[in-house]
């Protein structure tokens, strides 16, 4: 897979997923592999995303590589009016691999056509964030032992949530049951539900979090953002219906894990953090191993 870019989770086959997940597991068990020594990774964040950037930069450093880049567009030549194409053409002369986050959708795909070095999409607007999806798959397989036949609850903003859309598309290939929990105005878009119907995957929609979660293997919580509501009153009415509290977990399955792409605001109550079913900080750590695996794979070093 050398010099291949990672732009969209939809470009990947099941086999590609498993290769990355297996390698991520290898890095977790033996993180001390200096495969990126003498390599320079460019970390181009045209919009800020502290968590994703730190995760990537940690992954590079663990592999012994060095990082160049910027953390927001105002620190880059974009603020002087340079085109994305020119920025990428220049940086690809400096670095061996480019990690980029950009607010414009399709920007990473365009960069991969321009650059002769691999591009890793660290988020392009509301379109794709494939490394998040792969680390979610890693976390699910790690905790459940499989990706097959799982019951997943996706909770929160299912309309605009890029993370839940990518996860749905990836997991749909493994015979899951989905439960969608969201305010009526933030339901899973029809195109995704149609896709599940075509594949014969069962899904159920709920207006609130209730005892149905006792059947869950994974509860994946996302933030319901106030700015998604045109009327602030509508937000006030629904905001408390999607908060996961520790006492709601009493009768849940022993293998249940609670995931969240972070940052969390109040949608998972802090009393859940000590519950062994809380997995979101482990999930963040898994992101580092997954990104190590992705970079090593793209550079053909593994």
């Amino acid at each position: 897979m050398k010099n291949k870019s990672l732009i969209s989770i939809n470009d990947f086959s099941k086999e590609d997923y498993f290769n990355i997940l297996n390698l991520a597991e290898e890095f977790r068990q033996n993180p001390n592999q200096k495969l990126l020594e003498n390599h320079i990774v460019a970390s181009l964040f045209f919009e800020p995303s502290t968590r994703t950037r730190l995760s990537f930069e940690t992954a590079v450093q663990k592999l012994g590589g060095r990082v160049i880049g910027f953390s927001e567009a105002s620190n880059s030549s974009t603020s002087k009016g340079e085109s994305l194409k020119d920025t990428i053409l220049t940086v690809s002369r400096y670095a061996d691999l480019i990690v980029m986050r950009h607010p414009i959708e399709g920007s990473a795909r365009h960069a991969s056509e321009v650059s002769d070095k691999p591009i890793i999409n660290a988020g392009d607007g509301s379109n794709q964030h494939p490394t998040q999806c792969l680390l979610d798959l890693y976390s699910i397989r790690k905790t459940q032992g499989t990706l097959e036949n799982l019951n997943l609850f996706l909770v929160g903003d299912l309309k605009y949530g890029r993370t839940v859309h990518s996860l749905l598309m990836a997991i749909a290939q493994f015979n899951p049951v989905f439960n969608f929990v969201s305010p009526p105005s933030l339901r899973m878009p029809t195109e995704y539900k149609d896709h599940l119907e075509e594949l014969g995957v069962k899904y159920y929609e709920h207006d609130d979090l209730n005892e149905n979660i006792n059947h869950a293997d994974i509860i994946y919580v996302t933030r319901v953002q106030k700015e998604r509501f045109s009327d602030p009153m509508d937000y006030e009415k629904v905001k408390n219906a999607y908060i996961l509290k520790n006492k709601m977990l009493d009768n849940t399955k022993s293998n249940l894990k609670i995931m969240h792409p972070l940052p969390r605001v109040n949608e998972i109550s802090t009393d859940v953090d000590k519950n062994e079913k809380a997995y979101y900080f482990d999930q963040a750590e898994n992101g580092v191993y997954t990104r190590m695996a992705i970079m090593a794979t793209m550079l053909g070093l593994k």
């Binding site: 414009i104 959708e105 920007s107 392009d124």
Partner: protein, 152 residues
């Protein structure tokens, strides 16, 4: 009276027939008629048994490539192309929906890179419930048949 005769016959060239009347102007913009220097005859709102009202375009001495012709399928899949030689139809072609569309359609997503930088659009043609959609190669959003906008 046959509608072909309502619009002047051409000796040699191409006739695009069986266009639904409402689609005429979109098709005109797709095939770039303003750049054609030979004679062009256009009839609109002609009586048609099939559609009620149809349109027809006759272009003298031009034989478009199938790539150009197939673009018409995006707008009107029922259009028929007749190649005329010596006032006779020597070939009849049904337009065929292409698998990919490049350059001439705009992506509906205002946040798509093709609407921000000098990047040619590129789509995969997808079908859903009998309707055509264009899935953008860059932003992965689908532009529906009703929202197809031609880039000049």
């Amino acid at each position: 009276m046959k509608s072909e005769l309502t619009v002047k016959a051409i000796e040699n060239g191409t006739v695009i027939d069986h266009i639904q009347a409402e689609n005429l102007y979109k098709i005109i913009s797709i095939i770039g008629i303003e750049q054609i220097e030979t004679e062009v005859f256009i009839g609109n709102n002609l009586d048609s048994k099939k559609y009620g009202k149809k349109a027809i375009i006759k272009i003298a001495d031009k034989f478009p490539s199938m790539d150009d012709v197939n673009k018409i399928a995006l707008i009107d899949p029922n259009a028929v192309i007749n190649i005329i030689k010596d006032f006779k139809v020597v070939e009849k072609k049904q337009v065929v929906l292409p698998e990919k569309i490049k350059k001439f359609v705009k992506c509906i997503n205002p946040k798509c890179i093709t609407n921000h930088e000098d990047v040619e659009t590129s789509f995969k043609v997808v079908k859903k419930d009998g309707k055509i959609g264009l899935k953008c190669y860059y932003c992965e959003k689908v532009t529906g048949q009703n929202n197809i906008e031609i880039i000049k």
